[in-house]
């Protein structure tokens, strides 16, 4: 593993992010506008229902953005190279797929951290919602768990794109929203139909969102939920790495990696 080559891919990410209005809109602008909208909705809900409903909504949004931005950055970061017919150039350099992915994971992490800090600041300043009320340890553990889950989803999507090409590229920014209702991001799991709850509890973010909501009401770390989320994440990450490696090997064998750009 070469840090110089990883830095090279990171450098490319910096250049693309700086020059692409799409990235700025999809990540920074969308997150900022969404938190403002959710802030007003939560302020309204506090008036007509009870305080928790509004807070749950804003809390869910702040943590949902950790998933969305991480996954989007990881997957769409590679699409920029595919769209530019540059992916082959990258992989005929000594750069390995592992180095390439590590660089994109780091890039996704940095972008997500910056955006998360930004939207938390907007929530605190504009809507008097301080995410640190959950405790710094909770926030760090929630952030880490949601990041790992987003990376797992992003890695599988990236493998599918390497294997099937750009015809399924819409999944890169659309697929993740499937998990928004399934992980009960904005409401308690109890609001889901019983059959769907089983699916929800198979997904690590569900435990994170539940633990976060509980931490709002009762301060403290819910080690059980954090533990289950972490264990599930380990399984998901292992599966994602396996699926991604298999997809890359298949796309190299079928010639689709070389034709992914065409």
């Amino acid at each position: 593993m070469s840090t110089e080559r990883i830095t090279g891919v990171l450098l490319q990410e910096v250049f693309i992010t700086r020059r692409s209005l799409e990235v700025i809109v999809d990540l920074f602008y969308t997150s900022a506008v969404t938190v403002v909208v959710f802030g007003f909705v939560s302020r309204y809900l506090v008036g007509v229902t009870h305080q928790s409903a509004g807070s749950y909504l804003l809390l869910g949004l702040l943590f949902w953005e950790v998933i969305r931005v991480n996954q989007y950055s990881l997957t769409v970061g590679s699409l920029w190279n595919i769209w530019s017919h540059n992916l082959s150039n990258m992989f005929v350099a000594p750069l390995s797929v592992t180095e390439y992915i590590v660089a994109h994971l780091l890039s996704a992490l940095i972008k997500t951290f910056v955006i998360f800090c930004g939207i938390c600041a907007v929530a605190a300043w504009g809507f008097h919602f301080d995410v640190l009320r959950l405790g710094a340890l909770n926030v760090a553990m929630f952030f880490a768990n949601l990041t790992v889950f987003a990376w797992s989803v992003g890695l599988v999507l990236l493998g599918v794109i390497f294997q099937m090409g750009t015809r399924i590229q819409a999944l890169a920014w659309g697929m993740i929203f499937l998990f928004q209702p399934l992980t009960a991001a904005f409401f308690p799991v109890s609001a889901l139909p019983p059959a769907v709850r089983a699916v929800a509890y198979a997904l690590p973010p569900t435990y994170v969102f539940e633990a976060a909501r509980r931490a709002l009401d009762v301060p403290g770390v819910n080690w059980a939920f954090v533990g289950i989320a972490s264990a599930e994440n380990l399984v998901y990450a292992a599966l994602a790495i396996g699926v991604f490696s298999w997809m890359v090997a298949r796309s190299r064998s079928s010639g689709r990696l070389a034709r992914a750009e065409g």
Partner: protein
Amino acid sequence: MPVEMLLEVHDLVKVFRRARAVDGVSFSIPKGRIVGLLGPNGAGKTTTIHMLLGLITPTSGRIVYFGREFPRHRAACLQRINFASSFNTLQGRISVWENLAVFARLYGVRAPRAKIESLAAYFGVTALLHARYWDLSAGERTRVNLIKALLNDPELILMDEPTAALDPDIADKTLALIEEIRRVSGVSILYTSHDMHEVTRICDDVIFLDRGRIFAHDTPLGLTKRIPTATLALTFDGDRAAVERFLAERGERFRFTQPFSVSIETTEQAIPSLIFDVATVGVWITDIDVKKPTLEDVFLTIARGPRRVD
């Protein structure tokens, strides 16, 4: 002194489902040579190049760069080669400088700024370094792609139709640059193209692929010599019927392209005596044109069959 081989390909095979795209291809590239990889569409040229670059996994066979097995020593091998293709472009959103800075990192170039500046000056694109890659013309992009291909001082460059989609003037300038690069750096090149004139101009050796197999590997001159026929075009004043009768009696294959112009398909060796003999039937020869077989004729013979030229 033994010739140093930069690339050795042994019995390379690629099967895509039912199709055998590459079928037992073996060749080597010695240091300092330009080897052309030619063939009709679907011959297996690009699949071969992609296997040599590690983008496609071979079904079987061995690839050895600089004496080291590929892809087992992938990074070490790729560090010493590079790739240029008209089908792959650089990242369009970012500037030429930014693109080259990224690749300088990927190839671990020492003093990348100086390297990029000197190559940009050499290729005459210094003024374009801060332009977005998408805003460049096709010719400018080709030059930038060549800079990318030279960043790591490669010993071998794989070029996949680098002049495709370029107008003839820019293609000619690009070829001149490639010739200059070869002269200055002594780099070896594996060059695929459909343009026979390009190949004749720059390649030392030519490998003809057809249906995934090599069936001719020779110098451009050696390949053209495998087609024994040449075309003799004669324009004359005098009795056309006498010329027609004379050629028919000799058993020549001919056709009149104008009332007093005849095109005769013969062998190169027979041309002098044929001209002399035609003159003896009482006509005055006013123009002579000899068309020797070109690499294009070899290519067409392969593409249209019969399947062997030797």
